[in-house]
């Protein structure tokens, strides 16, 4: 009996040893090739990248076509593998950038984005697929990159870059790429790069145009040297308002990848103190010589006033997102809700519905019986449009009995332009056109689609 017991005990000990060995092997493997990427919601310290002593046979095969370039060569490839790059924004620029850096064998990629994947992103943010809708963009991008090259270490950050975390994050990377979509983030990234002494490869795109510059590199200027004061918020157009052809940020993101690879491999970038402009309409690149580093620059100058990160949203007077701003120009009694407008329609009350969006948006969708006069035409008092408007008001007055001010309801996409139009029409009422009662429909057609008619398209 005791023999049996001791045999079992020995066997158990052996198997426990084996389990422990398997566990440690698994842990080691998971460390180098984690099976599930861990999404970071805060900045954590990273272990330094270890330089490879030599390329493996697999490396040689994988990178053979670029190893053949004397400009890169073995040393350039080894340099790439020990370089870490932080990509701020995994959108239209960040996706192709991450893709080409991973393909080329960069050592470590930090992929930062606070946002989730939406259907309207997919035409340009090419690392995300239909099945990734709702997923953190950073994670979706990291998974796509790892499918492409599992030897690249990917760290997805699902967080907003801020005054609190930017310095700690950026100091852990060798090169930073600004692929963001808003002005406050661009100043924040710039200042954090200057304070940490990191080169900043920056690009932007809108509609059919793109721009690229490498800042804070080899004694060249920083973003603030060029733009000491932020633009007035009303002059800034984002992609969700102005539109963008997907391939345009695609081209600019690839351009960023090129400059990052040249810096990381040791060739160096030629885009310091230089602005590359891309005109997609005319298929034309134009290279502009920029001013040198400015002695009076607030952050990289001789006696800087910005010595730590500041509040960039208040500096720029804008939020650090590319979501649409919500204007509030009117009083409560100058606005109605979409529900109010539905009941006006249901009761067949006489009125004029004025849609002030540009024609290109009216072509996408509109409410039947609306009259389209773009806000810009009202601002410029375009004669044929004002006449048309007056004709419709006159018709309404004929239909309505007695002395009255015909009601005009103004609508646009989100309810910002319509408020501006209400202000203009109120000024015109009684002088340039007959007296009218004019009200804004809060939230515009997107509120109509969300709250009243789910079959109405959203864009």
């Amino acid at each position: 009996m005791s023999q049996v017991l001791s045999r079992l005990k020995t066997k158990l000990q052996e198997q426990e040893k084996e389990i422990a060995a398997l566990k440690s092997k698994l842990a080691q493997l998971e460390k180098s090739h984690p099976s599930v990427l861990e999404l970071h919601d805060k900045v954590t310290p990273l272990t330094p990248l270890k330089p490879k002593p030599a390329l493996s046979n697999e490396d040689i095969m994988r990178y053979s076509r670029q190893l053949l370039l004397p400009e890169l060569g073995v040393q350039g490839q080894l340099n790439l593998s020990k370089t870490s790059v932080l990509i701020v924004g995994c959108g239209g620029l960040g996706c192709p950038l991450a893709q080409y850096l991973a393909a080329a064998g960069i050592g470590r990629l930090g992929l930062l984005d606070y946002d989730e994947v939406e259907l309207s992103n997919l035409h340009r943010q090419v690392l995300h697929g239909e099945e990734n809708q709702g997923q953190a963009k950073a994670l979706s991008a990291a998974n796509a990159v790892r499918r492409l090259n599992s030897t690249v270490e990917c760290i997805p950050y699902h967080l907003q870059l801020s005054t609190e975390n930017a310095l700690q994050l950026i100091q852990q990377y060798d090169i930073v790429a600004d692929c963001s979509d808003n002005v406050p983030t661009r100043y924040l990234v710039n200042d954090a790069c200057v304070l940490n002494g990191k080169p900043l490869v920056s690009a932007s795109a809108l509609r059919m145009e793109g721009q690229l510059t490498v800042y804070n590199y080899c004694g060249g200027p920083c973003y603030r040297c060029l733009y000491p004061r932020p633009p007035p918020p009303e002059t800034v157009t984002n992609c969700s308002d102005g539109g963008v052809l997907g391939v345009v940020p695609g081209i600019m993101g690839c351009f960023q990848a090129l400059e990052v690879i040249k810096i990381a491999s040791g060739q160096g970038s030629s885009s310091s103190q230089q602005l590359v402009m891309f005109d997609a309409q005319d298929t034309r690149f134009r290279t502009i010589k920029l001013r040198p580093k400015q002695a009076n620059c607030a952050v990289c100058g001789e006696s800087p006033s910005v010595t730590k990160l500041v509040d960039y949203e208040s500096f720029c007077g804008a939020a650090a997102t590319d979501k649409c701003r919500r204007l509030n120009l009117l009083s409560r009694d100058q606005r109605i809700t979409v529900q109010d407008y539905q009941s006006i329609k249901d009761k067949a009350e006489l009125h004029l519905l004025l849609d002030v969006r540009p024609l290109v948006e009216v072509d996408i969708c509109c409410l039947p019986s609306s009259l389209n006069i773009p806000l810009s035409s009202l601002e410029e008092r375009k004669r044929e449009h004002i006449q048309l408007f007056q004709e419709r008001i006159s018709q309404l007055k004929e239909q309505m009995a007695g002395d009255c001010q015909p009601p005009v309801y103004v609508i646009c996409k989100q309810g910002n332009d319509s408020q501006k139009a209400v202000q203009i029409l109120e000024k015109m009422s009684g002088s340039e056109v007959d007296s009218i009662t004019v009200k804004d429909i809060c939230g515009g057609l997107m509120a109509w689609a969300k709250k009243i008619d789910p079959a109405f398209p959203q864009y």
Partner: protein, 110 residues
């Protein structure tokens, strides 16, 4: 907005305007190129005078989107012959025959 300056027998300047870049052209009705004539001046035109002229002749609506004070608004970069105007004397630069002036609004989208 691209402005190509020509001097024509001391009578007037002919401007070949091509408007491009960063949406600046949208302030000018989206027109990318057109030709205008600038009246003759005893002194050569400088950029400061040119901005006033553009404002009075090309940009009657919403000038605040283009100028601020006597200069361009923050976020617009001026190029003189494919170089940053900071390298050329900014507002005081004297226009010369065949000069090429470009106004770019900085893009921020991504």
């Amino acid at each position: 907005l691209t402005l190509i300056v020509c001097q024509n027998s001391h009578v007037y300047y002919i401007f070949d305007l091509s408007l491009c870049s960063g949406g600046a052209e949208l302030l000018f009705n989206g027109v990318k190129e057109h030709h205008v004539t600038l009246p003759s001046h005893s002194e050569p035109w400088d950029i400061k005078q040119l901005l006033v002229w553009i404002q009075q002749n090309l940009l009657k609506e919403r000038p605040e989107l283009f100028v601020q004070g006597d200069s361009v608004r923050p976020g617009i970069l001026v190029l003189i012959n494919d170089a940053d105007w900071e390298l050329m004397g900014e507002l005081d630069y004297k226009l010369q025959d065949q000069d090429n002036i470009v106004f770019i609004s900085t893009l921020h989208g991504g």
